[in-house]
Structures are given as C-alpha cells and as structure tokens.
C-alpha cells in the first residue's frame, strides 16, 4: 500500500450513510410518499458528497483506512480508500444518485422496499470498493448479492421470479466458489489477503498449480457477476425482468463489482509479473474475446430492447477483462477506464429504455417505430450513447477502443484489434437499427403511395417527468464530455493513469 495512509472515519461514513434511507423509510409517515423518496435521494446525494470530499486527498496520493473488526491476524474487516477503490466508488455513487432520482417517478408500487434495498446495495457496494482485503471484499460482495435480489424481482411477475431464482442460483454457486478461492488464497498465500500495489502472491508461497487454482477459482467466482461467457446465463433474464433503474445499476455497477474483483485479483493480489509467469492471462484473453464476439452476435438476434442491451453489457464488460489480459500499459488503462465509460453509457441506455417503457409501454424494438418523435430528448440521448458504444469519437467509447487497440499493439498481439473491430461492427449492427427505427420509421411509413404519408412532429413538451429526463441528459452529456476532456482531474484518466502508471512504469 502507498506510504501516506491515514486513519479516517470517512470510508465508514460513506458505507453507513445509505442506511439513512432505511431510517427515513421506516420513520416517515405512510402518506408523504414524495417527501420520503426525495429524502432517500438526498441520502444518495449525501453519500456522493462524502465520497467526493475525499477527491483532493486521493489525487494527492493519500489513502484513508479504518479497521472495523478483526477476526484474527490476516483476517480483518478493514476499509481502505486507495486510488483504484476510490475510482470505483465515485462512479457508483454518482450513478446511484441518478438512478435514485430517476426511480422516484419510475417506481410505482412497493417503493419502500425498492428504495431500502437500493440504499442497502449502495452501502454494500461502497464497502466493496473500499475493502482493504479480499476477505472484506467477499463479505460485502455477498451482502450485495442478497441486497440486489429484491431489486431484480421487484415487479414480482412470474418472469421476474424466475429470473431472480436464476440469479440466486448463479450467485450462490459463485459465492461458494469464491469462498473456496478465499480459503485457498489464505492458505497458500500465507494468510495474506490484503492488496498490494504490485500484488502480494508469488511463487515463493506455493507451487504453480496451487496459485493457478486460486486464480481460476477467483476468475470463476467473479466471472459470474462479470458475465464471462459460459457463466453469463443469469444476465439476459435478470435485466429485462428488473425495473429499468435497477437494470441500469445492475449493468452499470453490479456487473462491474465482479469485474472490479477481477481487477483487484490481477493488479493487487497476483500482480502482472506473476500472471505473466503463470500464463493465466492467455485464458482470460481467450474467454474475453469469445464473450465479446458471441455476446454481440446474440444481441443481434434479440428483439426485446432490454435483452439486447443486456447482451451488449455482457460483451462490453469483457472489454475490461480483455484490457487486463493484455498485460500492457495502454491495455490496462483502457480496460479499467472502460469500467466507468461503460457505466455511463449503459446506465443511460437502460434509463432511456425505462422511459420508453413508461411512456409507451413498448418493450420490443420492432414496435418502436417513430418513437424518436414522441420522446425526442430521450432518443437523442439514446443515440448519443449508442454511437458512443460503437466507438464513434468524440465519446468515451472511442477512448476505450483507442486505448485497447493501442494496448494490443503494445503487447504485440494485433489479433485483439481485429476482435475490437469485429465487435465495433457488430455493435453498429445492433444499435443502428434501433436508432433507425426510432427516427426514420414511423407508423404508416410503409403505406402505399398517395395515402397519408407524413412524418410526425417532434414532441419536446411531452417527455417524461423531469426526474427521469434529467439523469439521462446528464449521463449523455458526460459520455461526450468525458470523451473530450479526458485528463480533467476527477475523470477516469486521472485515477487510472496513476494506478496503471505504477504497475507499468
């Protein structure tokens, strides 16, 4: 860990602050729905504020740490804010704030349960981000698994229940594998579960087979949340079933918790040298490439918008894995930055899908003819993000692709560039039709010559509520802004370059 490590209660405050919503929900009168939910949003805002307050210190290279409980030596619950963890917490607190605001007008029944579990999930995820060791990470990660279950089944339809069940089965199996990984790590790693800047394990501790076991059990355990291809089964069901803000978070943050775990394992537990020694990155790369291509192909065949977005998420999260597996400076930079980039883009896309659902009740892409005229702001934002997903400059998507491409050349493996290109093409193939349907088709456009054949008017005034539109606009704007002013302090580059700069000098 870096030198400047100071005791601070702020990490703990950030973890506990979301529980404020729980208090609000239980304490406030039943009738004051608006007040109650806005107070929850205020809680999310406060959390974001607390996280933000650490920004100057983090940029100075400080870390903050607080010990919660100690089981025995080497097994302790400790929160430490380092650059990488802070980077994750910032995007997640931000996205959470927007999703909470959005939910105020989106969620129309059982909002108490929804908001409480939203808040709990945020608390646990911040705990994940601030974990100082694998043990703490695992505990918060498991809690988050259970906290997110009620979000997925919120609609309580048969489909939602089935999706929730599938989610639980996958998550619990993954939790068990992860548990095994932690015990194995603790055993072979000589009780060292902490994170180090260059990794803490080495071949001095145990044999190759042992370390590879640890690595692959970690990969399998986190791979379920990160939706690496053979383990992705729950994602395409859970996303459409969950309410849109929950899908946005699921895709934007919860999937990333798995990816973040893999980042931690690669950077802070194993370290690049050891990975290169064990050649485990090859397996990661192969899996990631397969996932990227196959998920995109699957996405093509989906008509349900959210399902298509879900498959897209599966592919996109694997960009992160791919970036890590390149073991090169730019690759790692691109991969880790993609964590935020994708959260912004996909969060926005899912929120847009939610607006469409609320305003028109349409789920399938083929029914969305002319929807761009009914919901112009939403669909413009949607298009911006969709274009960004394909990698069109100036946008965050372009930055990712550029860095990954450069990283693969740096690693001397141009084959990845081909994968990226194929993926970009496939992205275009499944996103452009949506934009086309929304803006260039309308009801009755296939009518015979001579019949009424007029393009609908843009209806700016009839958009959804402000609570829903404002987050979408903010996200879409950020997709562009972060893609242009890349190096502004507080934007992903400022953190990730620091972390990656240490590892790949």
């Amino acid at each position: 860990m870096p030198d400047k490590s100071a005791f601070s209660v702020i990490p703990l405050v950030a973890v506990l602050l979301p529980w404020f919503s729980l208090v609000v929900i239980t304490a406030s009168p039943k009738k004051a729905r608006g007040l109650r939910l806005w107070l929850c949003a205020l809680g999310a805002l406060a959390t974001f504020g607390v996280v933000l307050s650490l920004l100057p210190g983090i940029l100075d290279g400080n870390t903050y740490t607080i010990k919660l409980a100690s089981v025995v030596e080497g097994l302790e619950m400790r929160l430490t804010v380092d650059t990488l963890g802070y980077y994750f917490s910032l995007i997640l607190a931000f996205l959470w704030l927007l999703a909470t605001v959005y939910s105020i007008s989106y969620i129309d029944h059982k909002e108490n349960r929804f908001f409480v579990f939203m808040a709990l999930c945020e608390s646990f995820l911040i705990g994940c981000a601030f974990s100082a060791n694998m043990f703490t990470y695992f505990i918060f990660y498991e809690l988050m698994t259970f906290g997110s279950y009620p979000l997925i089944i919120h609609e309580e339809t048969a489909m939602a229940r089935r999706a929730g069940y599938k989610y639980l089965v996958y998550a619990i199996s993954a939790g068990t594998v992860l548990f095994f990984a932690i015990v194995a790590h603790y055993f072979w790693g000589d009780g060292q579960l902490g994170f180090g800047s260059y990794g803490v394990l080495s071949l001095e501790f145990a044999g190759r087979a042992a370390l590879m076991t640890v690595f692959f059990t970690y990969l399998a355990g986190f791979g379920v949340k990160a939706a690496i291809m053979p383990l992705h089964g729950w994602v395409p069901d859970a996303h459409p079933a969950a309410p849109s803000p929950a899908s946005a978070l699921l895709s934007g943050v919860i999937l990333k918790a798995g990816a973040f775990g893999i980042i931690r394992v690669c950077f802070n537990v194993f370290g690049v040298e050891l990975m290169r020694d064990l050649k485990v990155h090859v397996v990661m790369a192969v899996l990631a490439c397969i996932t990227i291509v196959v998920a995109s192909v699957f996405a093509l065949t989906q008509d349900n918008l959210k399902r298509r977005l879900a498959y897209s998420s599966i592919g996109q999260v694997s960009y992160i894995i791919l970036g890590l597996s390149m073991l090169s400076h730019d690759g790692a930079l691109g991969g880790v930055m993609h964590l935020t980039h994708h959260a912004l883009m996909k969060g926005c896309l899912f929120l847009c899908a939610g607006v469409i659902l609320v305003k028109t009740g349409k789920k399938n892409i083929s029914d969305m003819k002319g929807i761009g005229y009914k919901l112009p702001i939403t669909m413009i934002c949607f298009s911006v993000c969709a274009l960004a997903m394909m990698g069109t400059p100036p946008s965050v998507g372009f930055i990712t692709k550029w860095l990954l491409g450069s990283g693969s050349l740096e690693a001397g493996l141009p084959v990845y560039v081909i994968v990226l290109l194929v993926s970009a093409l496939l992205n275009a193939a499944y996103f452009l039709p949506i934009i086309y349907t929304a803006f260039f088709r309308w009801e009755g456009d296939e009518a015979e010559e001579g019949e009424e054949h007029h393009r609908p008017k843009l209806a700016f005034g009839k958009e959804a509520d402000h609570e829903m539109v404002v987050p979408i606009v903010i996200l879409a704007a950020l997709v562009v802004i972060v893609g242009i002013w890349v190096t502004v302090p507080g934007f992903p580059y400022s953190f990730v370059s620091k972390v990656v700069g240490i590892i790949f000098p």
């Binding site: 505990i139 619990i172 194995a184």
Partner: protein
C-alpha cells in the same frame, strides 16, 4: 484463587437443586413456576459471565470436589473451550426457558406443567455438569440425567406420535449409554484411572493398545448416537420435530453439540490427538461418516415438507460439519468446530423457536403454508431469515466465520475432498433455507391464510427469538473477540 473457583460447581448444582425444590412451589402456587424456573438459569448465566476473563486461553480452572486431589477425587476442569460452551449452554437454555411459558401452556396439559420445568432445569444443569466435568465416569452420570430428561421431554405432550418418537429415541439412546459405560470399563481396566488428565498420561504408557482402540470405538458409537452422527441418526428427525419447540431448540441447539463436545474432550484430552495407533483408524472412519452426514442431511432436508423435520435434518448435516472440523486435527478446524457449536446452537435454536412461534400463532407446520407469512409475522420471519442465513454460512453471520475455519482447517490438513463436501453442504443448505425464506417473503399468499396486522407471536416469545438472531449477527461481526482465543486454546489442546 478467589471465590470464583466455586463458580463452576454452583453453576451446575444450582439448577439441579432448584429443579428438586420446584415441585414445592408448584404445589403452592403453580402460576409462579415458570418465572421461578428462570432464576437458577439466570444465576448460572451470571456466574458463567463472571468467570469470563478469569480463565486464560491456554490454561484451565481445576476444582477438586470434596478436596480430594485427582485422580483420587472427582475434578471439575473448565478450560477456555469448556467455559465457552458453558456460556452457550446457559444462554440458550435461558432463552428457551423465557420462550417456554406461553408455548407450553398451549401444548402441555395442566398437571404436567411443573414436571416440564423440573425436567428442563435438570436437563440444563446436567448439560453444564457434562461439559465441565474432568472425570469420565462422572461424564457418564451426567449423560444419563441428560438422556432421561430428554426422553421424557420429547414425550411430554403425551400425544401418541410424541410417545412413539420418545420411545424410539430411548431404544437407541439407552444401548448407546451402555456402550459408553462398557467403554469406560475398558478404559479403566487398561489404565486404572478415571480422571481425564491422569488418563491421558497413563494411556501414553499403557501397553494395552487393543483395549484402548476398542474403548475408543465404543465411545464413538455411544456418543455418536447421542450426537446423531450419520448412520446412527434415525431417532433425531422424529424426536426433534415432534418435541415441543423450546425442547427441539434445546435438543438440536445444545444436546447434540454437547455430545459432540464430549467426544472432542475424549479425543483430545484423554486419547491425545497425536496417538495415531489408538484413534487413527476410527477418526478416519468418523470423517467419512461425517462427510456422508453433511450430504445426507442436506439432501433429506431439501426433500422435507414439514418445517421442523427440515430443520431437524439440517441438524444432522451440521453435526457432520462439527465432526469434520474435529477430525481435521488442526487448530483451525478445531476452533471452527467450536465456533460452529456456538453459531449452530444459536441459529438452530432460533429456527426451532421461530417454527414454534408459527405453530403457536397459526398451527402451521408445513413449509407450503408459509407463503406470505411475513405480512402477519414480520419479526418471526426476519429472525428466521437471519438464522437461516447463518445456517447457510453467508457473511456477516457467525455461520460464515465457523465455516471459513472449518474449511480452512480441512485445507491445512490437506483433506481436499472434505473441504469440498463442506462447500457442497453450504449449497444444499442454501437450497433448503432459501426456499423457506422465499416462501415467507416473496410468494403471494393465495389462500389468504395470513392477515396483515393479525398479530405476531407474543413478546415473551419474540424476545428470545430476536435475541438469538441478533446473536448470530453479533458473533459474526465481532467474531474477533472469541476466535483468537479459541485458536490459542485449540493449539493448546493439540
């Protein structure tokens, strides 16, 4: 040595003597019996708490009864692990006792009420004596009090199924007691001593290895029946599910564990763990059976329709966990097994008491009937969920910590298959526990059996349930308080 050296013996004898005096109170004022029965248990708990910190992790408190030094007199030996279990016994007994009055008033007819409390106190006192004693024959005596009272408590409702289950329990329990008695005889014949500490020294120099091996096998079979180790478990599902819920909680949460603890004491303090010639083969066999128990209990629990039977099968599975920890012969495994006794005691007691609340309020026993139960019984359902999560072993409950150490211990001993079995056991537990939670919270109540605001269980029943659930959380989060010392104590035992 201050006055506290007397505390262990008072902890044991006060409940026993109060049990004898209770009928007089029952004769005068039967209404006061339930409240009066709380007094001796509170006293024991208090004395136990006062002992905390007095016993170092790597030492013990030895008390010579009648002033005769061992091996001539009987010794009470409380080491750190013993005190830990004494406190578990006191705490859970006290909570089960608090739970009892309302519930028992409904299930047990008037004339037997006093008998119920008398037997309950005898059982608690006997458990304390059983855990604390340092003499093998004394162990047998307390085991018999324990056995007698538990047979009777299973049958106390007088219902025909209950009597049948109690008789089945007796038919397995009594021969097993005799086996223990025979094993003690063999041990005595080979060493000439009955004191545990003295025995371990004499065993080391005894030439009668064959006798000791068979003695150990008989001990394992005898206590294996009491602890419901896999092929000897047949009595458990019936007895635990038919007994009144507080008794189920005592049997499942304490009795089987105390029996497992006795085996642990015998293995480590008498037959000394390093002595492969004597215990090697048997402990291997026990590991295999324990692994089978984990899987069998889990699978059977999944197949059950009755809530209490499901919990009972889960107990069989968890006894397997404890034995897998003990037979790993590592300090981590041992500490895990001890911690598992704590959290399994808390969680199982909580589950059975929750089932009791449901039976008390609605009379439902089937899992299917629980659909949508949380509308009417939110506290019970939340407590149930917390305890169930501990049974699965999900953080931050105590179950996670113990499972971690159990698996870690099996890792250290390089027993990979057993570590794997433990993990599979966790998945099985997840299946049967989450099903119930799912029914309680997320299934619609189509029959309209549960009415919102229909009233949860009364406060005197909810309080112990919630305390137990909170306990599993507390000991999960603040496990550092205990596990460190347990590890040291386990290292000391080894």
């Amino acid at each position: 040595m201050g006055a506290y050296r007397h505390f262990p013996i008072l902890m044991i004898t006060v409940p026993l003597v109060c049990a004898v005096l209770l009928p007089f109170l029952g004769y005068l004022r039967e209404r006061w019996v339930p409240r009066a029965a709380l007094v001796p248990l509170s006293v024991s708990t208090l004395l136990g708490l006062l002992l905390v910190g007095k016993i170092p992790a790597q030492g013990y408190l030895s008390y010579h009864l009648g002033g005769w030094e061992p091996p001539f007199g009987i010794e009470i030996r409380v080491d750190y692990i013993g005190l830990f279990l004494l406190l578990v016994v006191c705490g859970i007994s006290l909570l089960a006792m608090v739970f009892s009055p309302r519930y028992i008033g409904k299930e047990v007819s008037g004339g037997r009420l006093t008998a119920y409390y008398v037997l309950f106190l005898l059982m608690s006192g006997a458990m304390l004596g059983f855990v604390a004693t340092g003499d093998v024959f004394n162990l047998f005596v307390f085991m018999e009090i324990l056995a007698l009272t538990s047979y009777a408590l299973v049958a106390i409702t007088g219902n025909r199924n209950a009597v049948r289950a109690a008789f089945k329990y007796l038919l397995m329990g009594a021969p097993s007691s005799i086996m223990v008695l025979l094993a003690i005889g063999l041990l005595y014949s080979a060493t000439g001593s009955l004191n545990m500490a003295d025995l371990s020294a004499r065993i080391a120099e005894s030439g009668y290895t064959e006798v000791l091996v068979v003695s150990f096998i008989l001990f394992v079979i005898g206590f294996g029946v009491k602890a419901a180790l896999f092929p000897l478990h047949m009595w458990l599902p019936d007895a635990h599910s038919i007994a009144p819920s507080p008794i189920s909680a005592m049997l499942s949460g304490l009795l089987v564990e105390v029996s497992a603890f006795a085996l642990l004491r015998l293995t480590f303090s008498v037959f000394t763990a390093g002595n492969d010639a004597i215990i090697g083969g048997t402990s291997e066999a026990v590991s295999v059976f324990a692994a089978a128990a984990v899987l069998y209990g889990g699978i059977m629990a999944i197949m059950q329709k009755d809530l209490k039977v499901m919990i009972a099968y889960s107990t069989i599975s968890h006894i397997g966990y404890i034995f897998l920890g003990i037979t790993s012969f590592t300090k981590e495994g041992l500490a895990g097994a001890m911690y598992h006794m704590l959290d399994h005691g808390l969680a199982k007691a909580c589950l059975f008491l929750c089932a009791g609340c449901i039976i008390y309020v609605k009379g439902y026993r089937r899992i299917e009937d629980l659909k949508g139960a949380w509308r009417q019984m939110p506290w019970t359902c939340f407590a149930f969920s917390v305890a169930a999560i501990s049974v699965i072993g999900i953080p931050p409950t105590a179950g996670f910590i113990s499972k971690f150490y159990l698996i870690y211990g099996n890792f250290t001993a390089e027993r990979w298959p057993y570590a794997l079995v433990l993990l599979v056991g966790a998945i099985l537990a997840a299946v049967y526990c989450l099903r119930v939670i799912y029914y309680m919270f997320f299934q619609p109540d189509k029959r309209g059996a549960w009415e919102e605001g229909g009233g949860d269980a009364p406060a005197s029943m909810l309080a112990p349930v919630c305390l137990l659930a909170a306990g599993t959380l507390f000991f999960g989060v603040f496990s550092g308080l205990i596990i460190d010392s347990l590890l040291k104590a386990a290292a000391f035992l080894l």
